[in-house]
Symmetry: C3
Subunit: 325 residues, 3 copies
Amino acid sequence: RIMRPDDANVAGNVHGGTILKMIEEAGAIISTRHCNSQAGEPCVAALARVERTDFMSPVCIGEVANVSAEITYTSRHSVEVQVNVMSENILTGAKKVTNKATLWYVPLSLKNVNKVLEVPPIQYVRKEQEDEGRKRYEEQKLDRLETKQRNGDVIFPIINPEPHTVGYSQSSLIHLVGPSDCTLLGFVHGGVTMKLMDEVAGIVAARHCKTNIVTASVDAINFHEKIKKGSVITISGRMTFTSNKSMEIEVFVDADPFVDESRGRYRAVSAFFTYVSLSKEGKPLPVPQLLTETEEEKRRFEEGKGRYLQTKAKRQAQLQQAAQQ
Amino acid sequence: RIMRPDDANVAGNVHGGTILKMIEEAGAIISTRHCNSQAGEPCVAALARVERTDFMSPVCIGEVANVSAEITYTSRHSVEVQVNVMSENILTGAKKVTNKATLWYVPLSLKNVNKVLEVPPIQYVRKEQEDEGRKRYEEQKLDRLETKQRNGDVIFPIINPEPHTVGYSQSSLIHLVGPSDCTLLGFVHGGVTMKLMDEVAGIVAARHCKTNIVTASVDAINFHEKIKKGSVITISGRMTFTSNKSMEIEVFVDADPFVDESRGRYRAVSAFFTYVSLSKEGKPLPVPQLLTETEEEKRRFEEGKGRYLQTKAKRQAQLQQAAQQ
Amino acid sequence: RIMRPDDANVAGNVHGGTILKMIEEAGAIISTRHCNSQAGEPCVAALARVERTDFMSPVCIGEVANVSAEITYTSRHSVEVQVNVMSENILTGAKKVTNKATLWYVPLSLKNVNKVLEVPPIQYVRKEQEDEGRKRYEEQKLDRLETKQRNGDVIFPIINPEPHTVGYSQSSLIHLVGPSDCTLLGFVHGGVTMKLMDEVAGIVAARHCKTNIVTASVDAINFHEKIKKGSVITISGRMTFTSNKSMEIEVFVDADPFVDESRGRYRAVSAFFTYVSLSKEGKPLPVPQLLTETEEEKRRFEEGKGRYLQTKAKRQAQLQQAAQQ
């Protein structure tokens, strides 16, 4: 679809969150269709996880985003979907790859939302595809267990923070979950949540560096818990790490289903977003270093540095591999 | 209401689809109100058909669109509504007629959506009005049968197409039907569908001519089949004909109600949109000729030429008639 | 959240209606949460009244609006919420107070929408806070009775009106109430109604003075009657008074629940909006005087003048009080 002014920031770059929302919609459609392709109980595919996603080039207002999705692996109860986004300037005809994302969905019964149904198996062209898919499936399963332990954290407001400290840029946003945010099952679309997360992360990044910023990547996101219609969600973000030209922001989503459940507020999602700052010519600008004050903040900074170096090493390995082929 | 940046393209011209959506909303309101004006089963009026609509002058961001609707004929089970749109520049006070559209609605029971209710008859000021209305009613009924036969076509993607061929500009878009797209009955508003159709047709036109384009007219649209909440709709468009300064694009809407019905994918709507390309001063620009390759494409081009010449002849006849009066 | 192009007029100033909608959402969240904080029947807080609200400084596209809400008083069946809005330019870090609003909510049972539940009492830090709250509660109760009497008025269109007369700028807008406009109870959010009212008032103001206008204040608004999903609402506005640099516009909201009730059209809300016209540098411009023609119009002009002088006197008294402290 054509990118509109509301999809973009004041510099005309489309928000990463808008792209993530489109990706998730495409993934939900293809996996719901697949899971309903055999006779049986009707179901809706719910987003369980998004793998790390890199934004390779910014999309601008007036460009057309082409989204294509393909099912690449099925386990007994989950579907892996690969979604590619290409941006196309329809006036010049120029096309660029914007994103490649991998998403995991599970089919939930339309009649009983707590029942996970079985996924019809797909046919693989080559036997290795199935093996590689199984490997990815096992890896993400492990990773999902790990992130569950980060769930306790809460962000408190800080009075009169110094510039470039964590407290200076941290931000939060509340949103009342309405009908247009939800699937047929009455739960928030994963894409809606990711769009709000990107909005908060973008505010944190802009507050820190005071220049035009764009989403560079999103770390794997696990959707631990569903969020019901009528809930209030609080999305909070804080900066955890800065390199010379990038900022890492941790975002939490807390849901409060106060109207219709005895259940209290709970952590529904958390993720790391990486932003870069761009000059008017689209070149990355240096960003001010994050000032860490507490022991906690220093620890998180070091962890962020670890993730940053790991990603950098992985990318270099890929480049070398590509050069050798 | 005031036209917003999101209603318009990058050149500031409001999308024809936004206007069509407003027209349909006005028509749905007046006909639903009329059909509920007598005691009896409550109902919602559903769009059955839109007659050919010309866009007489483009509307810009910041202008106010004034929509007025009037019931002009009632048959036993359908209502004809005439909707006029005027754009007003509230700063200069200048007003222009933008559209005159004729829509047909049928009242569906709120309790049983498959039951078409009876329409309370309206009073005509002059007897001729009733006769002319009946004539229009019979004509559209005939036309509706004809278009049903065009329903089988499907659009396949083409690899590496040449510029200005049909395959080069053809486009499609998928959309998951959410609650805000639907009426009280849980079916997609006709206006929502038309807005998406215009979006796809606009992308096809821009890909073909690479310049700023606006909707010039829409041929009669028949809404053969309702589309249910939760369905996925695929909207596909391909160019069928070009004159020196206009492009005709055929648009199909296919619905896939995969979640809640045993029923497969079906063709819900199809229509022809005509676009022109405008210079910065608002003058029509020449458009590149469409290159037809297959026999099918050549046949469709000739059919499009037929529609183009017929419309041109009709318009000249009207101008002569107006000059003689 | 970040202000987007669609939230603003062509000059980049965010619509007062967008701010009012955010204020109401924050108020609805905090009061619904409070009313559900004790075990008992689940409920949704519905907006009953908004006190007079001044827009202290315009907000621009790209700025972040920070909304904070606090419960300041509870009666047996109602909650008073104080909402503050600050706009923040995230690039410069500059912050400005935009709004301070006071809203009243009543908790309606989720099971039976006509049942008003009891509100859990809040704890006051100082005894005077409770007494002052009770005084505000009694005052607004009185005022609500008064405005009920203004309910009969209807606005008729006028053919060929003279510039600067009441008929020249009067405007109306219809809107079909969809699912995304409604709360869990299926009634329109007060914030949605206020946004539409501001849209109509803004059109009236722009038609009158033909320059860039912004909302300066909104008089107390009473929500007499709920509006159900599927209703059609007609929002009408007419100018009642002009001072040298401000315009007062009266706005009515009439609801027509034609589909599902035997009940006819009724007046749901009415309010006075005050607009000023701004130059490109943000300075208030003189506005053309309103030409009153009928006795009714002259009477309304004098009443408007009364409200204007009263507000002016109150503001001067506050300034003097502040100067003395």
